[in-house]
């Protein structure tokens, strides 16, 4: 009897694993699109946009926002973050190519849909999507020393730089 049970569990886990693999793994939604942002990489982006804060995945903002961010680096949220023109243009192209309105994953689409077409937010943390997902977190939690501000996604979302904001990866530090 016990042996049978073990056998059954084994068979079930094998079949469910292969079903998962066939469907493209965890994170595949019913619409057949990935719910998480795809991994992306550009060496200049990684080097130049991670000195002062975490790397923000290009899928977090639409094309017009990235263009505005990149056009204003000399006065970037109160700091000088200017780059030479060649580096700036390369990073802009990379961000635009993978921006929320160009990326097919569900997360990016929802962020994009939450932004009125007549606005160009410079912050992900200003979007309606972000605000609705964090309405239970108090301002004082974001201000904790271990977090700093709502812009510091990686303090709570371990996989933030890879574009992974899944619930299983969230932990609010003390």
């Amino acid at each position: 009897m016990k042996k049978w049970l073990q056998f059954l569990v084994l068979i079930t886990s094998i079949t469910s694993t292969s079903a998962l693999l066939a469907s493209g793994g965890i994170g595949e939604g019913s619409e057949g699109r990935s719910s998480q942002m795809p991994p992306v990489m550009n060496a200049k982006w990684k080097a130049e946009c991670s000195g002062c804060h975490m790397l923000y995945h290009p899928g977090l903002l639409p094309e017009r926002s990235w263009k505005a961010v990149m056009a204003g680096l000399d006065k970037h949220f109160g700091e000088s973050a200017g780059l030479d023109a060649a580096t700036r243009d390369e990073i802009t192209s990379f961000l635009v190519l993978n921006s929320a309105d160009k990326s097919a994953n569900r997360r990016s689409s929802r962020i994009n849909q939450s932004i009125p077409t007549n606005s160009t937010p410079l912050r992900v943390s200003e979007t309606r999507y972000f605000i609705s997902k964090h309405d239970e977190i108090s301002a004082s939690t974001f201000k904790r020393k271990s977090v700093g501000s709502s812009a510091n996604c990686i303090a709570c979302h371990r996989g933030a730089e890879k574009g992974d904001f899944s619930e299983s990866q969230v932990r609010i530090p003390r």
Binding site: S50, G51, C52, H53, M54, G78, E79, S80, A81, G82, V147, G148, S149, A151, N152, A155
Partner: protein, 135 residues
């Protein structure tokens, strides 16, 4: 094949950018003499006070280089967005002052944000001299 490209990339970037802090100081010395004929040399003490002196910024805040880099250059610092900055002193962070383009880029940004002007070659040299004097 890919490895060869990576290897070439590393070799190229090392050749193109590597410098020692002493070589950087030499370059700033040439500039400092051009900026001021009376220039006599860099001073670690002047660099230390430059690093720690707070200035009233037009945005109402008191700022210094130490605001982000902390007053002890052997310590890790922190950006306004809460990201760790590795220590400034070469004795604990050998990567500092070895990439001239990076050094110039950050002097450019940080001097503008703290002093609201560019740093002089003398200020840059004093700063590096101070960092090298930290044991």
């Amino acid at each position: 094949m890919r490895n060869i490209y990576i290897l070439l990339g590393i070799l190229f970037s090392v050749n193109a950018f590597a410098a020692t802090p002493q070589e950087l100081l030499k370059q700033y010395e040439v500039q400092a003499k051009q900026e001021n004929a009376a220039f006599t040399g860099f001073s670690a003490d002047a660099g230390a006070s430059f690093f720690r002196t707070e200035r009233a910024h037009s945005n109402g805040k008191q700022v210094s280089c130490a605001t982000c880099h902390t007053s002890d250059p052997r310590n890790q610092g922190k950006t306004r967005a809460n990201k760790v900055i590795e220590p400034m002193a070469p004795i604990v962070n050998a990567k500092r002052f070895t990439d001239p383009a990076k050094v110039e880029k950050w002097f450019g940004r940080n001097c503008k944000d703290v002093l609201e002007r560019a740093c002089t070659a003398k200020e840059k040299g004093d700063y590096i001299q101070f960092m090298l004097s930290v044991k």
